[in-house]
């Protein structure tokens, strides 16, 4: 187990290192840098002025030197300065993390609460009208773009309540924050709940064909006991994987949803930073997302061992 963990940590570090090179090189391919944007915005066409801005921001130095400075700073917890706001990048990023984290957790909660029970019901009532309805519902969850769903929710709320529930000021208190985040979380979570439902259904169907389920039934165990105690527990393993993967990948859904609902989270900030070519922000945010993804993948693998004692990671 010990050497498995060491190998695993090394692999995670390698992946993150590779991602840091990939993102750094990709951003330097972008046609036009922040100096161009600032010069254009100020209406200055003087190349000297542009060169001065590029020098101030360190964009004139060799790319390897720029990379070394970024990675060196990152290991010390120094994320550099944001080009646009000229404030330390950490001060820009840190306050946005809790907002996106809360939104992700709520979306995940929503998707599990809906996805797992509906998946079980759909499997237990296979090929009934209810099953067909739930399957079509889950497929539509995978088909609706979340930004459109968000826009529809906004439209409906304008129509019925006359207001738009978007994030304008800092919410006062826990309840108001939950109220503001609940709708966007449901919008993001709808897609994940569809995925979780489909997987729970197919996993349940596979387990319910096993001999031990027949044995349990022949011993006179009740339907509820067979479905939930015997079948669901064993069907949950692949479901846990998808919940874990979704937890990390919900960030993709957050990008558009935070934009629609005007939520000042990490994902919307990434889009803004990309538009402004604010390299320090984009690089660090991408690394943050990649870090969350590899960490969650690792945690999911560890959760396997707890859920299924037959799984042991060999040294």
């Amino acid at each position: 187990m010990g050497s498995y963990l060491v190998r695993r940590f090394l692999l995670m570090a390698l992946t993150l290192f590779g991602m840091s090179i990939l993102i750094f090189v990709m951003l330097r391919l972008v046609p036009g840098d922040i100096a161009d944007i600032l010069v254009d915005a100020a209406g200055i066409a003087d190349p000297k002025e542009k060169a001065k801005i590029a020098k101030e921001l360190g964009l004139d130095r060799p790319i390897i030197e720029q990379y070394g400075q970024w990675i060196g700073g990152l290991t010390r917890g120094d994320l550099g300065f944001a080009y646009v706001s000229e404030r330390p990048a950490i001060e820009e990023i840190a306050p946005r993390i809790p907002i996106s984290a809360k939104l992700t957790l709520m979306a995940l909660f929503f998707s599990v609460i809906l996805g797992v029970p509906f998946g079980v019901i759909s499997a237990v009532r296979q090929n009934t009208t209810l099953d067909y309805f739930l399957r079509v519902l889950s497929l539509s969850g995978l088909s609706l773009p979340s930004f459109w769903l968000g826009l529809l929710v906004l439209m409906a709320s304008v129509h019925w309540f006359g207001t738009i529930p978007i994030y304008t000021n800092e919410p006062r208190g826990f309840l108001q924050e939950v109220g503001l985040l609940a709708i966007p979380a449901a919008v993001v979570g709808f897609r994940s709940s569809a995925l979780i439902m489909r997987l729970t259904r197919s996993s349940m169907l596979e387990v319910m064909r096993q001999d031990y389920i027949r044995t349990a039934r022949s011993k006179g165990a009740s339907n509820t006991s067979v479905n939930y105690d015997h079948a669901l527990r064993n069907a949950l393993l692949p479901v846990v994987t998808i919940i874990g993967i979704e937890a990390a990948f919900l960030v993709g859904g957050l990008i558009v949803t935070e934009t629609v609902f005007n939520i000042p989270g990490v994902a919307r900030f990434l889009v803004e930073a990309i538009r402004w070519r604010d390299y320090p922000i984009v690089q660090n945010l991408v690394m943050l997302i990649a870090f969350v993804v590899v960490t969650v993948n690792f945690l999911v693998d560890m959760a396997y061992m707890v859920l299924d004692p037959r799984i042991k990671y060999a040294d």
Binding site: P145, I164, R275, I289
Partner: protein, 297 residues
């Protein structure tokens, strides 16, 4: 004792069906949801191909007098703030979605198949290197990766296709690699080698065709994802540039401002995206049931 009526059973399984038409009817009855999906996808492809015959107006021609016209007999689905006919724009938008969806899925598929086949077949250092590269690419969600790539490449139709295709590569490569790993130990590969066939020919002629079933299933799912990602990128202003009518950008243009005053600008492009992706998902599920019986739901 149960009596099995062999004739009836054979009839039920479609053994006596001849001719393309009756085969299609039989398959459609057996997979009704898949048939609906196929009809939606065919309608989408038909609309995209024949857009210039179907659309009553030029999708880019503006007319200030018809700005924000309500849906009616002239503008069936209304007009946008520049007076452009929404129906024509949605019809032409199908072309963009089809071009990006197919382009990205095929490009990602060809790259993924090449990498996966070589990885599984060659093994060793190449495989190790490619697997780590795939790990790196999979450490970002599809949309985030596509977003960064789209920004790096700049807005254009071709660049949007590439930006979506690259993040699709790892899953194709992984599927092909794992199939190749098990296939290369099979007796028929050994037999091909024994009769003196070259390794490249074995890989392409014998191993590759056997990985096709899961690939088609994955490809259909990726087609839906690619259409959704294109819509999201264009919605964020980092996808298809003007003057192409993209469904995603139609929503970004109309989003906040017209939610109250012109809801048709928000509803119809979204319906187009959702219906198309819904169709590909239904078709994908049916194809999985037909081609990959182990995963049958």
């Amino acid at each position: 004792m149960a009596i099995i009526d062999h004739e009836a059973e054979l009839h039920r399984a479609g053994a006596n069906i001849t001719g393309l038409r009756s085969q299609l009817v039989f398959t459609a009855r057996r997979y009704p949801l898949g048939a609906i999906g196929a009809i939606i996808v065919l309608t989408f492809v038909f609309t995209a191909v024949f857009a210039n015959f179907i659309a009553p107006f030029d999708p880019t021609s503006t007319d200030s007098k018809s700005s924000l016209a309500r849906p009616g007999s002239v503008f069936w689905l209304g007009a946008d703030f520049m007076g452009r006919d929404m129906f024509s724009r949605i019809v032409y938008g199908a072309r963009i979605s089809l071009a990006v969806g197919l382009g990205a899925t095929l490009t990602g598929g060809i790259l993924g198949v090449s990498i996966g086949l070589m990885s599984g077949y060659l093994g060793g250092g190449f495989d190790l290197l490619m697997q780590r590269l795939m790990d790196i690419m999979q450490s970002l969600p599809l949309l985030v990766m596509a977003l960064v790539m789209a920004a790096a490449l700049g807005p254009s139709l071709e660049n949007t296709i590439i930006a979506i295709a690259i993040p699709l590569v790892p899953s194709v490569a992984r599927v092909v690699r794992s199939s190749t790993l098990s296939l290369r130990e099979q007796p028929f590969v050994e037999a091909a080698r024994a009769v003196g066939m070259g390794e490249l020919r074995i890989a392409v002629r014998h191993v590759l065709p056997n990985t096709l079933a899961p690939l088609i299933v994955l490809g259909t799912a990726q087609l839906g994802s690619a259409i959704l990602v294109e819509a999201s990128l264009s919605f964020l202003g980092l996808g298809i540039p003007e003057p192409y009518p993209s469904w995603g950008r139609m929503l970004s243009e109309s989003a906040a401002e017209y939610v109250r005053t012109a809801p048709w600008l928000v509803i119809f492009p979204g319906v187009a995206i959702s219906m198309t992706v819904f169709g590909t998902n239904l078709l994908g599920d049916a194809l999985r049931d037909i081609l990959d019986p182990r995963q049958r739901s």
